[in-house]
């Protein structure tokens, strides 16, 4: 019997995967075809969505960019008549067009994503699922678990990179009648979707990781704090939790041991700062998500004053693999102080945008060019943004930099949670810095003066610069404010908020200077600093730009050269986007 799986992560759904799934299901059901149709998560190739995999006795075939139309033909030809449509297949025994994307990846966290049906606990178990927790309960004491995780060198994947084993040890030590374990699934960094994909594609691995952590620290209750914008992830987690309760994997005397554990979901309500652990706990308690001073650390006094350990989704997803394969196997990947793999959400101006998992120690160039296929369109690689609003921009000239916590920190950026946004020469670095600062400024909870007002003042300076109204002292003032905000803020949000500005000032200072002195935006992005005009030689008078213009700034009749009235132009760039002949230019 053939098994058909349709890639249905949020990415698959938005590429029309839902309709493809229904179309295939209908064909199979209506024609009584002997085949099984199921959902699966994202396999990382978001740039090829919708993906459909057909597995028969001989081989597994992966179809890319499947539409409802194509799906019909695939069912007809391949499923019914055993004639695979080779032109649409990107991977099978004989075909492999996506080798470059896959070859350099190592899948530990994403081991099941895109392979199993996330709604099926049996498929998870068929791939060693829930065997790690059983081995743990039967053969290891909590102290031994902590020792294994410590020796593996696993560091927290939520951004900070704190040693997971050590974190668990600190939460294990205090004596308490009650302890909690929390999974941070708030994934607030704009441009990051690793945690969403793991939760949508393999929710059980996170649950199992949490069970092992709970056993290690002595917790009997856990929460998954999930972002409200992730309805599908929450839905699949609910299904997974229900299955665990039904099978007795959650509850009392789990797998016949003395270990009791219950787990529930808390939906976030939309506040970036709630990703910070003390704010997150306040939010779980139902309060405003305002961070508090540490110490006391959560390991001493966390949720409702009880010892609590908080880890990120990806951190937990690593844990069952380590318990099965051993600390040494994990530590064999990576560099001196960064072990294992890291999942990156590769997006921005990149050809093959998607989810990739690479061993630590790989260079940025390898990720962008070998795996990601290089820059989309005709752009020139300018740099990458790592770590979201807490991180920074690393220039293309440093593309040989290795993925390693210490190496990246040295640049002024951070590893962060895994957002990797590729920038090309059409990106203005002052504008990008402004973008992030605008974000942190809006998301600041307002508790610390420097974070609340300092970021606002920095933002005003950046706004001035991008409008060509900068003052000579502005760059010095930016650096001064940045230093003070870092020192004067209580939590990571404020302490890292100036990073995007500082790194762009460090590596792209000339762009700031051009905005300041020449009133020029070299990337042609800042509306106040550009003008639009039409190159007469290229214009064929097709009227597309005229139709696109919302303010009537363009005149000209059919087959005649058009003209833009600079006084009326609001510089929205719609004419530039509309023209197919490169006749509209930005100056």
């Amino acid at each position: 019997m053939k098994k058909i799986s349709v890639g249905l992560g949020t990415c698959g759904f938005s590429a029309g995967g839902g309709q493809v799934f229904n179309a295939i299901k209908e064909l199979i059901d209506n024609n009584n075809i002997d085949a099984e149709v199921k959902e699966t998560g994202c396999n990382g190739m978001c740039y090829k969505e919708t993906l459909v995999e057909i597995k028969d006795e001989q081989d597994t075939y992966l179809y890319a960019k499947v539409s409802v139309d194509k799906a019909g033909k695939i069912v007809n030809e391949h499923v019914l008549n055993d004639r695979p449509i080779h032109d649409w297949i990107i991977k099978s025994k004989d075909i492999s067009t996506e080798d470059s994307f896959l070859k350099k990846q190592t899948r530990i966290v994403l081991r099941n994503c895109g392979i199993i049906d996330p709604n099926s606990i049996d498929e998870y178990m068929a791939r060693d699922g829930y065997s790690a927790i059983q081995t743990t309960l039967n053969h290891h004491s909590p102290v031994e678990v902590i020792d294994i995780i410590s020796r593996s060198g696993l560091r927290g994947r939520g951004g900070g990179g704190f040693l997971t084993g050590l974190k668990w040890k600190l939460a294990h030590e205090p004596k308490s009648d009650k302890k909690y374990i929390i999974c941070n699934a708030d994934e607030g960094d704009p441009g990051a979707f690793m945690d969403r994909s793991v939760l949508e594609g393999d929710p059980h691995s996170v649950i199992e990781g949490m069970m092992i952590a709970a056993y290690a620290i002595g917790a009997d209750e856990g929460f998954i704090y999930a972002r409200a914008e992730y309805p599908l992830a929450i839905k699949r987690l609910r299904v997974a939790l229900r299955q665990c309760v039904e099978r007795g994997f959650l509850g009392n005397n789990i797998f016949g041991s003395k270990f009791n554990f219950t787990l529930s979901i808390k939906e976030g309500a939309g506040a970036f700062v709630c990703g910070e652990e003390t704010a997150l706990m306040a939010s779980v308690e139902g309060k405003r998500g305002v961070p508090r001073l540490r110490p006391p650390f959560p390991a001493q006094s966390g949720l409702w004053g009880k010892p609590t350990s908080i880890n990120n989704v990806e951190t937990f997803a690593n844990v069952p693999w380590i318990m099965i394969n051993g600390a040494d196997a994990f530590a064999s990947y990576g560099t001196e102080n960064s072990k294992g793999t890291k999942v990156f959400a590769l997006a921005g101006k990149i050809k093959k945008s998607g989810l990739v998992e690479v061993p630590m120690g790989m260079t940025i160039n390898e990720i962008v060019f070998d795996i990601g296929g290089g820059i989309k369109g005709n752009g020139i690689f300018k740099g990458v943004q790592m770590g979201g609003p807490s991180g920074g921009c690393i220039p293309a000239s440093m593309g040989d930099l290795r993925i390693d916590y210490n190496e990246i920190n040295k640049t002024g950026a951070i590893m962060g949670s895994g957002g990797l946004i590729v920038l090309d020469d059409s990106t203005c670095m002052v504008d990008i810095a402004k973008f992030f600062l605008n974000f942190t400024q809006l998301e600041s909870c307002g508790k610390c003066t420097f974070c609340r007002i300092g970021t606002k003042r920095m933002l005003e300076i950046l706004e001035r610069l991008t409008e060509g109204k900068g003052k000579l002292t502005d760059l010095v003032l930016l650096e001064d404010l940045a230093g003070k905000i870092k020192q004067g803020s209580l939590c990571g949000l404020g302490q890292t908020a100036p990073n995007p500005v500082l790194t762009t000032l460090k590596y792209f200072r000339h762009e700031y200077e051009e905005h300041l002195h020449q009133k020029r935006c070299p990337a042609h992005q800042c509306p106040s600093l550009i003008t639009f005009s039409i190159i007469p030689e290229n214009c064929k008078g097709c009227c597309l730009c005229l139709k696109a213009c919302a303010v009537g700034a363009i005149t000209g009749s059919k087959k005649e050269v058009h003209i833009i009235d600079e006084k009326k132009c609001i510089k929205c760039g719609k004419c530039f986007d509309a023209c197919r002949l490169n006749a509209v230019q930005k100056n």
Partner: protein, 170 residues
């Protein structure tokens, strides 16, 4: 009288809503969960509900208001039938989210945070929808739409308008 019937209907509704809240309270003891279910039932959080919840959990209404205004998910005003969330995350930003926003604003005649006069659409912005590989992205209700260009946005809006017409003529 029709008015009385409506009143009874409303009281019944409030009653079942209150029961639902009491159950939730037993389960989780969390204010945010209660506010979320209030918003699920009403589409926003009406003032009277703040007082019910205040009584139920013995937290002053002012504090509840503080929580509501802290989180961007909660709304104190009714929303349109369809909620459009435009992504302003990094990947979308570098891939033309500004154009998407201006097209949406042109087409709907509203800015972010507003609702169209016919009550069909509310426009909101969010930090990232987690669909960065399909940037630029918008989410309408719970459906995500990616790789947007001007024509595609217009077509999508039209679909929702047609759907609404079909719904109201039934």
């Amino acid at each position: 009288m029709a008015g009385d019937a409506e009143l009874i209907e409303e009281q019944k509704e409030i009653h079942s809503f209150k029961l639902d809240l009491i159950n939730k309270r037993r389960q989780s003891g969390s204010l945010i969960t209660l506010l979320q279910s209030a918003q699920d039932s009403y589409g926003y959080i009406p003032e009277k509900v703040i007082y019910y919840i205040s009584e139920l959990v013995a937290i002053p209404a002012a504090e509840i208001y503080g929580v509501i205004t802290f989180y961007s998910q909660f709304r104190l005003k009714p929303m349109g039938e369809n909620i459009i969330k435009i992504c302003e995350g990094t990947a979308c930003y570098v891939n033309g989210a500004k154009t998407v926003l201006s097209v949406l604003q042109d087409e709907l005649g509203i800015s972010v945070g507003e609702t169209t006069d016919d009550g069909l659409f509310t426009l909101q912005s969010v930090a990232c929808l987690g669909c960065c590989s399909l940037a630029p992205v918008i989410m309408i209700n719970n459906d995500t739409h990616g790789n947007l260009v001007t024509e595609k946005i217009r077509a999508i809006l039209k679909e929702y308008k047609v759907l609404h017409k079909a719904g109201s003529s039934n």
